[in-house]
């Protein structure tokens, strides 16, 4: 596990065995600073990318990533395998912190600044990401109507609130709330069904 982490300083995509990530988190829980370092080497590019996409400002994304790893260091002991997928746990820590940070700072609505990347390309998935392209979630997202899918993606990937999504889509707030709800219900039915 340690060897794999050293040989692969780049984050490993979906193909990486989840157990290795679990082992790293277990070692972090035992107070192993080296394990936190290996976890950082393995996951920081992925997690920084997620933070940056949500907060849009590198200096804030850096704070979010730093705080997230301190939180991982403190909370790894309370993480248990039944807590679910370890990658999803790490994603959650970064996303919730990123979302908190932008809510606190107040955010200008992300513009279509090409430097920042358009906040949403709601109908296009990164085709390079084979795990999503092949996955059940992709198939189930395709079954949603366009508005529902846009809402789910703008919220999860870009961290927008109901109100921000409404402004972005030029749609009434009530409609956005209902698209999110119906989108969630349909996704769950499709994924769990």
């Amino acid at each position: 596990m340690a060897k794999a982490a050293r040989n692969n300083p780049e984050p490993i995509d979906g193909a990486a065995p989840a157990c290795a990530l679990q082992d790293l988190i277990d070692a972090v829980a035992r107070g192993d600073r080296g394990a936190l370092r290996r976890l950082y080497e393995r996951e920081s590019r992925r997690l920084y990318g997620i933070a940056l996409r949500i907060v849009r400002r590198p200096e804030i994304a850096a704070e979010v990533l730093q705080d997230a790893f301190l939180q991982i260091w403190q909370k790894a002991a309370s993480y248990a395998p039944e807590r679910g997928d370890p990658a999803a746990w790490l994603t959650g820590i970064v996303r919730y912190r990123g979302i908190d940070a932008v809510r606190k700072l107040g955010r200008e609505l992300p513009s279509a600044d090409p430097e920042q990347g358009e906040a949403v390309a709601p109908d296009t998935f990164g085709e390079s990401d084979a795990s999503l392209a092949r996955g059940a979630l992709r198939r189930c997202l395709d079954e949603l109507d366009d508005n529902q899918r846009r809402c789910i993606l703008l919220a999860f990937v870009d961290g927008l609130t109901h109100a921000e999504i409404a402004a972005r889509l030029s749609a009434p707030l009530g409609s956005v709330k209902s698209w999110v709800r119906r989108g969630l219900v349909s996704l769950r039915r499709c994924l769990d069904g």
Partner: protein, 227 residues
């Protein structure tokens, strides 16, 4: 507040994971996660379902200073080991304490009513809390459940008592607990002769309309043999 209806609770969990909730509502959900296992499960499931979407944010190399800051901070704070030890020890201590409580109460009830004493006793408490909230005794005289202190169902709702036999997947209703917090059942359910668990859920007034628990389980306890 956190909805009792599982469908509404699940949608709220999904909205929380998406991050669309107002910060004030998100704080309420976060606080409830610590005490509401159903909500916690729902949030974990949504995090897992939506995890593949996180790949849509392209990976970016973070500034090198970040790791140095993290390393400096974890060096200073002395590491996670004491916290782990602390939490595990606390957990064990509280489990031991709860077991000791159960044993003492069982002994007390057994000694206080020698003949025909109850053969099983359960102390029900809120999940993850150790303060006893209800006591149940079961034996030849049937089953009786009594609130220990101020456990009242929310307005317009009823507490319903459920039996979960050892190894059983489904809970069987033992009846709605009257507003005075006492329920006496003449016939002790066969399935519980070897122990099992008792649970109390919050249901619409008059009890679950479906025969299965529809609201959250708010108290739970294991039946322990007294002799």
């Amino acid at each position: 507040m956190i909805p009792e209806n599982s469908e509404e609770l699940d949608i709220l969990a999904g909205e929380y994971v998406l991050g669309v909730l107002d910060p004030a509502v998100a704080r309420v959900v976060e606080a409830a996660l610590a005490v509401n296992p159903e909500l916690r499960r729902a949030v974990i499931l949504w995090e897992e379902r939506l995890q593949p979407l996180s790949a849509l944010a392209p990976p970016v190399g973070p500034p090198p200073a970040i790791w140095n800051n993290i390393a400096a901070r974890i060096g200073e704070t002395g590491g996670a080991r004491p916290r782990l030890w602390h939490s595990l020890a606390l957990w064990r201590l509280s489990a031991a304490f709860a077991a000791a409580c159960a044993a003492c109460l069982a002994l007390y009830i057994f000694l206080a009513r020698p003949a025909p004493g109850p053969s099983l006793v359960a102390i029900l408490h809120a999940p993850r809390q150790e303060r006893p909230a209800w006591v149940a005794t079961a034996g030849r005289n049937g089953l009786s459940v009594q609130a220990l202190a101020g456990a009242a169902a929310p307005r317009g709702r009823s507490f319903e008592l459920w039996a979960i036999a050892p190894g059983a997947k489904k809970a069987v209703s033992l009846g709605v607990i009257p507003a005075n917090g006492r329920l006496q059942i003449a016939a002790f359910p066969q399935a519980l002769r070897q122990g099992g668990k008792l649970a109390i859920s919050v249901e619409p007034e008059g009890g679950s309309p479906t025969g299965r628990a529809t609201g959250p389980i708010v108290f739970v306890g294991s039946l322990v043999a007294t002799k």
